[in-house]
């Protein structure tokens, strides 16, 4: 009885997962479901999906993390997406914006993901605490 209660208390919000390539679909599904339950309109949901794809794939490919956590809170006022991982400290908000005025030939590929995420979401906040990267992204629905 006590164990069950404790279990209930320590149950964590969101999805804890090993950030390998195969995990991306699982994470996408979890976020899509959370937004569907909250009736988030297609246009806004797409923005969140793009931001998730950009930032979670960064964790998968570059962080070296063995653990990641994805939390999606969605309601009428908007969507908040929190990504945590125990990989190398990386602040995407310090990432320089790419030169989008270059032609296809000149353009170096890279840095676009962070740039797009910043354009898609209304607020982004990064902190490194307790050995974890934590990126909080918010999209408001007016």
């Amino acid at each position: 009885m006590l164990a069950i209660r404790l279990n209930g208390l320590v149950k964590r919000e969101g999805l804890q997962i090993r950030p390998d390539t195969a995990s991306v679909s699982t994470v996408q599904e979890y976020v899509a479901q959370a937004m569907e339950q909250a009736d988030i309109p297609m246009k806004q949901a797409t923005k969140v999906n793009i931001a998730l794809d950009e930032m979670y794939s960064n964790i998968v490919h570059y962080s070296g993390a063995g653990w990641a956590e994805v939390i999606c809170r969605a309601d009428k006022s908007g969507v908040t997406l929190i990504l945590r991982d125990n990989g190398v400290p990386f602040d995407p908000l310090q990432n320089a914006a790419p030169d989008i005025n270059q032609s296809a030939e000149e353009r170096r590929i890279g840095g676009l993901g962070v740039f797009m995420t910043r354009k898609m979401m209304d607020e982004m906040c990064y902190r490194y605490a307790d050995g974890c990267n934590e990126l909080t992204m918010t999209l408001k629905i007016s």
Partner: protein, 98 residues
């Protein structure tokens, strides 16, 4: 994501359905790497494509570079979400969108 190819001589049409993102863009990249030989006109039909993330943009850019050397490429039936992505990233000027 589903890819439907329709080739007519030197014209290749590719209709994409679903999402062009981290998970699916390697599939398109692979498909393009074996499909563009001898193609002078490449047409992407995005009528059933939901969205494109930067992983997808990379593949489109690679295709554009290949087609710049051997012919032309255009993208048709782009939805509002994808157009927004093309615009904020400058891809609207790089790609031929109809």
């Amino acid at each position: 994501m589903n890819i439907t190819k329709n080739q007519n001589g030197e014209l290749l049409e590719m209709a994409l359905e679903g999402r062009l993102d981290t998970v699916t863009s390697p599939k398109l990249e692979k498909e393009l790497s074996t499909s563009l030989n001898g193609i002078k006109e490449l047409v992407f039909d995005f009528a059933k494509l939901e969205y494109v993330s930067s992983a997808g943009l990379r593949v489109l850019l690679t295709a554009q570079k290949v087609m710049n050397t051997q012919g032309s490429m255009k993208v048709c039936h782009v939805n509002e979400n994808i157009m927004e992505v093309f615009e904020i990233t400058g891809f609207a000027d790089v790609l031929t969108i109809e």
